[in-house]
Amino acid sequence: MKFSKLFFIALVSVSVFVSCTNEDEVKVDSGDYNEGVLVLNEGSSGQGSVSYISNDLATFTQDAYTAVNGTDLLGKYTQSIFFDGDNAYIIAGGSNKITIVNRNTFKIIAKIESGLASPRYGVVKDGKAYVTNANTYADYGAPADAVGYTDDYVAVINLATNVVESKIELKATANRIVSENGKLYITEPYNSDKIIIVNPTTKALETSINIGSDADTMEAKDGILYVMRSPYGVAGEIVKVKLSDKSLSKITFPDALKGAKNLDIEQNTIYYTAGTSVYGMNTSATEASSTAIVSYTSTSAYGKMYGFAVRNNHIFIADGGDFTANSKAYVYSLNGTLEKEFTVGVGPNGFYFND
């Protein structure tokens, strides 16, 4: 295990949550897993899994995929989910596959099993999915032009046929992806200091924006792309990219919030986390708030705030635990009251909303 590819993926699998994706089609409201929250668990030695929490927090299924599809393998290191209409696309980075299920019933529809290489995140635009692929990883200390640093690509999937019909080579590393105003924006926190811009119509790379290293979570709102940068050991910042002219402005975090991460914008508030606390600031604020809304207790040495999202007046927190046992998801109200906690799967890394 230590030497295996899976281990390497474990090393880089520090995913948290995905920004809301564009939904091209409208979903139907029916089925056991409708009207609720999906918690993606990346798994470790076993397969990834998906837990379901109903919107009223009253109904819970720990492993919805297995409950519906039996012994079928969802894949190793499930990284993220994106939606299109009634379909949920579950990306398993460790198994190079995307499992497509009906998001309401969780019944398997199809799998995409070729054309992917360590897939990470996906968005949908005009009947096509655009999925970042980390492809190979460079060895430690490899030169900057090593294959592992330059072979990442976006797989273009035709959602009518579920086939990877082309690849957009990025000549760089790629991880998170956002679709906004007809463009794709891509960040990668370990070996990149820029936002890559792709025109999905022409499949051409446009001039990228240098914003500095360690850019990870991001979300677009009202023509501005908010990007969280979390360099290790120094104060992070939120970089605001005005998409019309690519101009940058920054909000630098105070030292007390070192290691801030997990940007999520819900109704005009930018939420983020540092340590085991959640903070929020208005999108128009010029200074970051360092007053915690919620703090939770974690015994996880290093899996604190492994998954995070704010939606429908709830704050959702997933704790990585010890990465070998089922761990916890917590639901808080916006004023910081714990509403409920759930024992989800191993390594819960994100929340997705089926409403």
Binding site: F3, S4, K5, V14, K76, S114, D139, Y140, A325
Partner: protein
């Protein structure tokens, strides 16, 4: 295919007839065992010896031999893939594999992959339960597995050839030659095992309804060995043991869409040894040079790989002095220099010096007391003071009581210390205290050994997700493990009828002290049984393995387990009377087609077949 194989066998047979040699005398009078104190100095612990007849009735991998004949528990990443052990509820790096007296666990991972060893390459394989760090160093916490080549100083020329052909295009060749006289002894061995290993996963289908099978699981293991001994004087012997091996495996896929990867392990092991005795003194000098290398191919179609390599030089001096008629003292100096380098951990050298004192007292013929003390000094970490204290008392021909107390350790590996990024240079060795009581009952040809043990392990090293998003090892866990081991054996013959019955049973509780949960991948129960019956030139055997369920998660989630399994093998062979011995055999493995796996999503083969021919000439 079978017909072709038969033809091939006949062809080989014919060639051998032409070159047939004179019968040799197999009355072994003078045998030089490389690890000469294994049996004599460890009477206070249980040692189970598997001789070549047991070795020959099993599949050739060491995993298979020990899985069906000992209390050791194995998990395999698919048939023939990486195979790791748990002995007495300990981790894979807490069982040491000892090759001719030298610890050959990986310097990089700390553990041994039992599918890289081919058991017929050795004359005897012994399983010593319990701590042995005073004699065998790092990793001898749960127990040790001893692979020995024994050199014989009599006039002899013997060849031994075994050919196997089985399901999934599994082919094995094993050839051994022994040539010796009263002064010289030589052994040469060659073995190669390969398989397409594309077995079906019983009752498992893809989402499209297609039968699932083991994909990308092909492997080939090649071993070469040469052992030479020379008697310089009647009381002085120079021996040289050499083995090199290459295991080339693709790694079985879990999902059909997984990346196809490949892993190549190469080992070379060389040991020069000089042994002399003079009146009350005897001295033993060892010089060993070991290398191990792995190459990991992230994509089987590409030549790019990452690798790790270690080169180890060991020099050891062991001087024994017969202090009194009843007391023998050994003073041991040990120096070990290991250089490790590779894609993920730079270039590092580690030096370890050790001093040990051992005393054996034979109070009388019935009572033996053993004492051992050892202290290591290393450039990398602080080493605990190790000891071993034991006693064996034979009450009568029926009952033998054994008691042993020891402190043992497992040093951090190169991966633990230097892996980039994440390696933690501040790790301490894992250490353990162990107490055991053994009861051995012997009645006529029946033996029953029952051992109870308790082990307390501190500073267990575990990789946890670390700072800056990397995983990093820490001395985090404390584990208490206790249990019992039962080994029984009976063999007898009545006229032309021969019977042999063997069985083992292990009950193991291994708990994390902080959580009070059973360690994952440690079964509470494991049992093996074998029955052999022979009549004249026919012999049959039946093997049975029961492996209790194991948790796969640290929280002992009852939904996340590997279910218990029972696997049976049936074999029959016939000695058709050429040369000294020449057997034609047939085996049905997993005869009852049990669906089972030892790791999640890694199914093992259903019913499959093997046929073999063994020629001794």
């Amino acid at each position: 295919m079978t017909f072709k194989k038969l033809l091939f066998c006949l062809f080989v047979l014919f060639c051998q007839l032409i070159s047939a040699q004179n019968d040799s005398i197999t009355n072994l009078k003078e045998v030089v065992v490389s690890d000469r104190t294994l049996y004599s100095n460890n009477k206070s612990q249980s040692i189970q010896m598997l001789n070549d007849s047991v070795i020959n009735t099993n599949q050739s991998s060491l995993t298979n031999l020990l899985n069906y004949n000992s209390v050791l528990y194995f998990k395999e990443y698919g048939g023939g893939m990486l195979s790791t052990v748990s002995f007495r509820g300990t981790t894979a790096s807490q069982t040491a594999v000892i090759w001719n007296g030298i610890n050959v666990n990986s310097q990089l991972t700390g553990s041994a992959d039992f599918n890289t060893f081919t058991s017929p390459d050795f004359n005897t394989i012994s399983v010593k339960a319990g701590g042995g760090s005073v004699s065998y160093g790092s990793g001898a916490i749960g127990g040790t597995v001893h692979l020995n080549n024994n050199l014989v100083f009599i006039d002899k020329f013997e060849n031994n050839l075994r050919l196997d052909y089985g399901s999934f295009n599994t082919i094995a060749v094993n050839y051994k030659m022994a040539l010796s006289n009263k002064k010289w002894s030589t052994q040469v061995g060659f073995s190669r095992n390969s398989s397409d290993n594309d077995y079906d996963y019983l009752d498992l289908y893809t989402w499209k309804g297609v039968q699932r099978k083991n994909q990308n699981g092909q492997y080939a293991t090649t071993n070469l060995s040469a052992n030479v001994g020379y008697k310089i004087k009647p009381n002085a012997v120079l021996t040289f043991y050499s083995q090199s091996s290459n295991t080339d495996r693709n790694l079985s896929l879990v999902s059909e869409s997984d990346s196809k990867t490949k892993y190549i392990n190469t080992f070379s092991r060389n040991l020069l040894e000089y042994n002399a005795t003079k009146e009350h003194f005897s001295s033993n000098y060892k010089l060993a040079y070991l290398t191990e290398q792995y190459q990991y191919f992230e994509n089987i179609d590409s030549n790019d790989f990452s690798f790790g390599k270690s080169e180890t030089l060991i020099a050891k001096m062991d001087v024994a002095y017969q202090l009194l008629e009843s007391i023998k003292l050994n003073g041991i100096l040990d120096y070990n220099r290991t250089k490790g380098f590779g894609t993920s951990f730079g270039d590092n050298t580690r030096q370890i010096g050790a001093i040990a004192i051992k005393a054996v007292e034979n109070y009388n013929k019935k009572w033996q007391n053993e004492l051992g003390l050892r202290k290591e000094v290393s450039s990398d970490y602080d080493s605990p003071f190790l000891f071993s204290l034991g006693s064996s008392y034979v009450f009568n021909s029926f009952y033998n009581l054994k008691v042993n107390l020891s402190r043992n350790f497992r040093i951090p590996t190169f991966n633990d210390l230097y892996w980039q990024t994440g390696g933690n240079p501040n790790l301490k060795p894992e250490s353990s205290y162990q107490a055991e009581v053994g009861n051995v009952f012997t009645y006529k040809k029946f033996t029953l050994s029952e051992t109870l043990y308790y082990i307390k392990i501190n500073d267990l090293i575990r990789w946890v997700p670390g700072k800056g998003d990397n995983w990093s090892p820490e001395n985090t866990d404390r584990v208490n493990t206790y249990g019992s081991e039962t080994i029984l054996g009976w063999a007898n013959s009545y006229g032309k009828n021969g019977f042999a019955v063997n069985g083992t049973y292990a009950y193991t509780v291994s708990k994390n002290v902080d959580t009070n949960k059973q360690l994952f991948f440690v079964p509470y129960h494991k049992a093996t049984a074998s029955f052999a019956y022979s009549y004249a030139k026919f012999s049959t055997n039946f093997q049975y393995l029961y492996n209790g369920f194991v948790y796969t998660r640290s929280d002992n989630d009852p939904n996340e387990i590997i279910e218990a399994y029972q696997v049976s093998n049936i074999g029959i062979d016939y000695d058709f009377g050429f040369f000294n011995a020449s057997k034609l055999g047939f085996q049905v493995l997993n005869a009852f087609n049990q669906k089972y796996q030892s790791l999640e999503d890694r199914p093992l083969p259903g019913r499959n077949f093997d046929m073999y021919i063994i020629l001794k000439f």
